[in-house]
């Protein structure tokens, strides 16, 4: 995967992103994942956490939004290559002059952007339906955290998608991967509640650091140093994910072009 291509083909990235958004807005499962599920998680969590803390509402807004972001990444970005295979368009996309990684990047970019709707919807629901007084404690840091989180999530998605398309056995576990990340990333409760041995796993997950930064800046509960550290971890893990994705894309393209086995394995 050549990342300079993303700059070189920026118009393709935007066009793919636009088409992906248009296409997915007609897919009811995707609408469920990015809109309905986070709303229902938010409603449930608002009832369950109402006595947990003074700033529980903002915590729930960000946490339920993150659940939507992760579910979207797992099910939509994770299947962003697989869906081309099911539609019989994978070979054509790989055969066109535009590098395939640029196309997949555009799709993942759209997926992550649209899943930010989860947080927006949860915010509107909590503010206007449940009448909670919501205010971001550190808005500038929050939006910077969000931008870095988008980078980290896209990078994570670029790693997952080729794994799912090449290793079917891994994809069989897809349904079972949703809640563990909700738990290990501390989206709606602190990971301190979990056994100590799970903490290193949490630290290795970009969604965990996204939750640290976004919860910390939205509720004002985190010091600047810990927010900066979360940013550094998101960027670092994002870079590692990009390196892994680069290798996986090479293997995948080899399977497609040389072995010609990707579509039939």
């Amino acid at each position: 995967m050549n990342y300079s291509n993303i700059i070189k083909y920026w118009r393709v990235v935007l066009t793919v992103a636009e088409l992906t958004l248009r296409h997915q807005m007609n897919d009811s499962f995707i609408l469920f994942t990015i809109l309905v599920q986070p709303i229902l998680v938010a409603v449930l969590a608002l009832f369950m956490l109402k006595d947990a803390a003074a700033n529980a509402a903002m915590f729930v807004v960000v946490g339920s939004g993150l659940t939507g972001l992760w579910s979207s990444l797992l099910f939509i970005s994770g299947n962003s290559i697989n869906v081309e295979r099911f539609q019989g368009t994978l070979e054509s996309l790989i055969g066109v002059p535009t590098p395939f990684d640029v196309i997949v990047f555009g799709k993942n970019f759209a997926n992550v952007l649209q899943s930010l709707l989860s947080m927006t919807i949860a915010y509107l629901l909590t503010a206007f339906i449940f009448k909670f007084d919501l205010s971001l404690q550190q808005p500038l840091l929050f939006f910077l955290s969000l931008i870095i989180a988008v980078f980290a999530f896209i990078s994570f998605g670029l790693t997952i998608a080729p794994i799912f398309v090449m290793y079917r056995e891994v994809q069989h576990w897809q349904n079972a991967m949703e809640y563990p990340v909700y738990i290990l990333s501390g989206f709606l409760f602190p990971i301190l509640l979990l056994p100590g041995w799970t903490t290193p796993i949490s630290y290795a997950l970009p969604p965990y650091w996204a939750a640290v930064a976004l919860h910390g800046t939205s509720t004002g509960g985190a010091e600047l140093n810990s927010v900066l550290f979360a940013w550094a971890m998101m960027i670092g893990l994002g870079m590692i994910d990009l390196l892994i994705a680069s290798r996986l894309f090479k293997v995948m393209l080899y399977k497609t072009r040389v072995d010609a086995t990707l579509d039939v394995q």
């Binding site: 009811s28 499962f29 609408l31 469920f32 309905v36 599920q37 229902l40 998680v41 409603v43 449930l44 969590a45 009832f47 369950m48 956490l49 109402k50 006595d51 947990a52 056995e169 069989h172 576990w173 897809q174 349904n175 079972a176 949703e178 809640y179 563990p180 909700y182 738990i183 709606l188 409760f189 602190p190 509640l193 979990l194």
Partner: protein
Amino acid sequence: MNGLAKNLRLFWQGTLLSYRALFHWLKPTTYAASKILMPLTQMMFFIALGTYGSGRDNSEFFVVGNAVQIAAVSGIFGVTMSVGGERWSGTLVYLFGTPANRMMIFFGRAFIHIIDGAIGVVLAFTWGVVLFGLDLSQTNLALLALTILVTTFSTSGLGLLMGCLSLVTANVMFVNNTVSFLLLIFSGANLDLKTLPVWMQVISNWLPLTRGIAAARLLVAGANIQSIAPLLVQELLIGLAYGMVGYFLFKQVEITAKRRGSLETV
């Protein structure tokens, strides 16, 4: 007598083949991911969320509620896919072309999912005991087993209705997932229904699972048959009602589809 034997054979073959067809991709890892690990992680998430919100002393409330709620995995998703799968795999035309008893065909689609769902709930209770320290020393286990069976039956009744909807809409996964999540809120698995607004309590009363979860909680607290019998009878009737509505919808879909010639496109 011969007719009864034929219908029972039809029921059994239908239930067995539809289950095998649904899990045609069945491999131990896939089954483990969908029916063991996913429900376990869902339970863990909501139990952790609940105890974070209301304290560790209330963990039993969430363990029992979420263990029984696992019935929805088979009851809603499994049954719906068994009915709706006929359309997606192109076999609906042949199914409606046979002279076979429709009631046997229809309810046969749910039978193994009830057993499978009950096993899933038993497994969830096992997780509850092993991982979350659920104390069943005061519990009448036979009554708990009956409660689990009745609850999976009633949830499958809702699943049959959802399955019929899958014959008339392409958005079945949207509907299924939404219903499944709504059950997490309205069934009382994670919330004390008495603390909810009245309109939410009214909806809860018309749903399967609600009374099954309440009965299971009473049993874990040491209740006897007299305390839970009314709940179980109501749970059973609710399941039957959903199943019958689903059956009549199934019949209606057949009539409409045959009249319009739109079996695969409705």
